[in-house]
């Protein structure tokens, strides 16, 4: 029930945004993420962005996973 999926913010109007979720544009609320900007990826739960996804952290996590996986190959 705590399902939240990534969405790309395309435009913002006051406390609402148009965001692309898996190829579909939906209207979402930015009440909980007032600092969100166009071009940000946010996590959307029941029509509300609940945070801004951190692309740098995602990259670092993937690098870490690659390192772990490489260790396994040794």
């Amino acid at each position: 029930m705590c399902l939240a999926i990534p969405a790309l913010i395309e435009s913002i109007e006051d406390k609402e945004a148009e965001a692309e979720i898996g190829g579909i544009t939906r209207r979402i609320s930015l009440w909980l993420t007032p600092e969100a900007k166009v071009g940000d990826y946010v996590l959307v739960h029941t029509g509300y962005a609940i945070n801004i996804l951190d692309e740098g952290e995602a990259e670092e996590t993937l690098n870490l996973l690659r390192e772990i996986a490489e260790l396994a190959g040794e």
Binding site: S29, L65, A69
Partner: protein, 364 residues
């Protein structure tokens, strides 16, 4: 899709799995608190690929499953009031309460609407000024700030026919209750991802500190869960117990301050009934006095009558991690997703539904 497909790569997963096998020496039992993790673990067959040293148990982390019958009965009683429109997330419709389900009272003529968001519920209230719209506030910290925001929006717009039946629950006290009961011995906790998006990772510190149990916050893709298991194993083998985040793209240690602010503005802690666990202190959220005019329980005279539990259903024991669906006599025979007896079979995140849908070979 960005942030999803990268975390499903099988070549990386294989590497992480073999590292877990190499590292794990000590027998350990991990609980995934959250039903979303249960689904990932079953859908991707994660239990089967882990070494024999690691046992996974599912916890009470599905808001639909832990909603006690006494609360559901109130929702049903509200639905029976002629001027009331019930707005609810779809997961709740089929859940059997003591005598009925929302779906059944709807078939009997009650006005029950499935909504995707509280935004739809607010719109319903605007479109039906002569009716009272009651939103069923079910959910953990992930959802509670959203319901709080909807109430603040209704206040801002002067809406007078929007109400909330708050059945919200917060997670850390429930975990404390499970650990205090001592019924299941745990060596690691997979902390809920999107609850932590809101509350951050600090509220889990007491588990590592007071109970010496390693905690790792996980995301919901298979690589997230594998990374989380790897980090738990690493802590165990190093003799550590601390709180770590394996889902850094989605969770910051301090959480979402704006969301927490809304939650604190609108709600205050109260004792709450959890299915299978009974009353857990400070694990519920009720509306603060200032917002009591939104409280459906105070606005309507409801008499839910005596509650009773579905006969033979052991959801309560499953939610505490002491039994599995396979221990239930009704599982798969009398109780199926089409004809669910208990909530753990109704909810897509319930353990019984996960065992039913992805069950083949899970004990391997």
């Amino acid at each position: 899709m960005k942030f999803i497909t990268e975390f499903r790569r099988s070549e990386l997963a294989e590497g992480v799995i073999s590292q877990i096998h190499r590292k794990s020496k000590t027998q350990a039992r991990f609980m995934e608190f959250c039903g979303g993790h249960t689904v990932t673990i079953f859908r991707y067959g994660i239990r089967q690929v882990l070494p024999k040293t690691i046992e996974m148990v599912s916890g009470p982390g599905c808001p639909v499953c832990v909603t006690a019958n006494i609360e559901l009965d109130k929702a049903i009683a509200l639905a029976r009031i002629p001027e009331v429109i019930i707005a609810t997330f779809g997961d709740m419709l089929k859940v059997p309460s003591s005598y009925s389900s929302l779906q059944e009272v709807k078939a009997d003529g009650a006005d029950v609407r499935m909504v995707y968001s509280t935004i739809d519920a607010i719109n319903l209230a605007k479109q039906n000024p002569a009716k009272s719209v009651v939103f069923l506030g079910i959910g953990f910290e992930t959802t509670a700030p959203i319901v709080a925001a909807s109430l603040l929006q209704a206040e801002e717009e002067g809406l007078r026919n929007y109400y909330i039946l708050s059945m919200h629950k917060v997670c850390p006290p429930a975990i404390r209750a499970i650990l205090n009961s001592g019924e299941v011995k745990l060596h690691g906790l997979i902390c809920p991802g999107h609850v932590s998006t809101i509350i951050g990772s600090y509220p889990w510190e007491f588990i590592a500190r007071d109970y010496s149990i390693p905690c790792v916050v996980s995301g919901f893709e298979p690589l997230d869960v594998l990374q989380c298991v790897y980090m738990l194993v690493a802590q165990i083998e190093n003799g550590e117990s601390k709180v770590e985040i394996a889902y850094r793209r989605g969770v910051r240690p301090e959480g979402n301050q704006q969301a927490l602010k809304f939650m604190e503005q609108v709600f205050e802690p109260c004792p709450a009934q959890w299915r299978g666990m009974g009353e857990v202190p400070d694990s519920g959220l009720k509306l603060k006095r200032k917002y009591q005019h939104f409280d459906a329980e105070l606005a309507f005279d409801i008499d839910p009558g005596p509650t009773h539990e579905p006969k033979g259903c052991i959801c309560g024991d499953i939610l505490r991690g002491v039994k599995t669906p396979l221990d239930c006599q009704l599982f798969g025979k009398v109780c199926t997703p089409e004809y669910p007896v208990g909530p753990c079979m109704v909810s897509s995140e319930g353990s019984c539904s996960a065992y039913y849908l992805y069950g083949e070979g899970f004990e391997g």
